[in-house]
């Protein structure tokens, strides 16, 4: 190998060593804490956005339901259906010997369904937040 070629290879290798050695920064700790703060801030903003979106969606849904007088319609529709449903439930409960002991009424059923819906929304929000 020529002397010039060897010199170039040496320079190449020395250059790699120099590039591998990072410069020292006096504010290295500050830089690290700034990145961590931005990371935390991003996480908080994401949580707020998801929570806010859920809240807005909920408010809109409730206002729509109120505007269409859905509850009144459901009530009027469910007058007969409710009695029928309760009767069926009682019959079914008596058959399975579980529900008769529970203080169940029509309101209780609706409340349970509502709570189940809320739990589902909460679980979905958590899942979106995690992934």
């Amino acid at each position: 190998m020529s002397e010039n070629g060897q010199e170039l290879r040496d320079f190449d290798a020395q250059l790699i060593q120099l590039f591998d050695a990072p410069p020292a920064f006096a504010d290295a700790d500050l830089f690290a804490s700034t990145v961590m703060q931005r990371l935390d801030r991003g996480w908080q903003v994401r949580s707020l956005v998801i929570g806010g979106a859920g809240l807005i969606g909920g408010v809109i849904a409730v206002s729509q339901i109120m505007a269409t007088n859905l509850i009144g319609k459901v009530e009027s529709l469910s007058v007969g259906a409710h009695q029928h449903l309760v009767a069926n439930l009682i019959r079914s409960a008596e058959a399975h010997l579980v529900l008769p002991s529970l203080p169940f009424g029509g309101e209780g059923l609706w409340m349970s369904a509502g709570l189940a819906g809320l739990v589902l929304v909460f679980a979905l929000t958590r899942a979106i937040e995690e992934y």
């Binding site: 290879r9 040496d10 320079f11 020395q14 250059l15 410069p23 830089f31 990145v35 961590m36 991003g42």
Partner: protein, 209 residues
């Protein structure tokens, strides 16, 4: 967690390998990722500055690179060095800004034949210079090309693709950049940049194909 507990936890992280820390970070371990930032923050910031970024811009891009790395950390499989993976993210983000500013157009120009450099006199007068000072004597294109290949760990082909320039143009920039660096760093004719013996494995890196 108590102060003693936190300290011992930090010491535990301190002894972990990058790949293990990345796995912890992928599982949501923010402290593990904090340790990775402490380890590699200066390297990423230094790389971007050596590519020619102003200090504020370099720090900004380096921060973005770490945030993106945290989001994508599950993609890091530990097949290569974490530092290399991180540097590639930072390079990609920095070059994206270049493209946005249309500065890459300058890169595509084939370098003119080398002429006497007015800065060489400064280098001779100053004697031995460090790498960062020497890099300032390169053109933006030469500086970016040399730093990508030697500091970023990219092969010539990868660097050409990243910069969106022909391979021949990149090689010309690298060749001229190396010549200028050599002149700046060894003005008396001898190589003065070495402080320790060259490791054989360094010679085998893919940056010099």
């Amino acid at each position: 967690m108590t102060i003693v507990g936190a300290r011992s936890h930090h010491q535990t992280l301190d002894g972990q390998h990058d790949t293990a820390l990345a796995a912890l970070a992928a599982a949501g371990g923010r402290e593990a990722f904090g340790e990775l930032i402490r380890r590699h923050g200066s390297a990423v910031r230094g790389l971007l500055r050596r590519m020619g970024a102003a200090p504020d811009l370099a720090d900004d891009v380096a921060q973005d690179a770490f945030l993106l790395a945290f989001e994508q950390i599950a993609d890091f499989r530990g097949e290569g060095a974490f530092a290399g993976w991180l540097k590639r993210i930072a390079i990609r983000l920095y070059l994206r800004r270049w493209k946005r500013d249309r500065r890459l157009d300058l890169m595509a120009q084939t370098p003119e034949p080398q002429t006497a450099d007015a800065n060489q006199g400064d280098g001779a007068a100053a004697g031995r210079m460090d790498l960062d000072a020497a890099l300032k004597h390169l053109s933006p294109a030469e500086r970016a090309c040399v730093t990508l290949c030697y500091g970023g760990g990219l092969s010539h082909a990868e660097a050409a693709e990243a910069l969106n320039i022909p391979l021949g143009t990149l090689k010309s920039h690298v060749k001229r950049g190396l010549e200028r660096l050599k002149d700046q760093m060894a003005p008396q004719g001898g190589l003065s940049v070495s402080s320790s013996p060259v490791q054989a494995q360094s010679l085998g890196r893919k940056t010099h194909v």
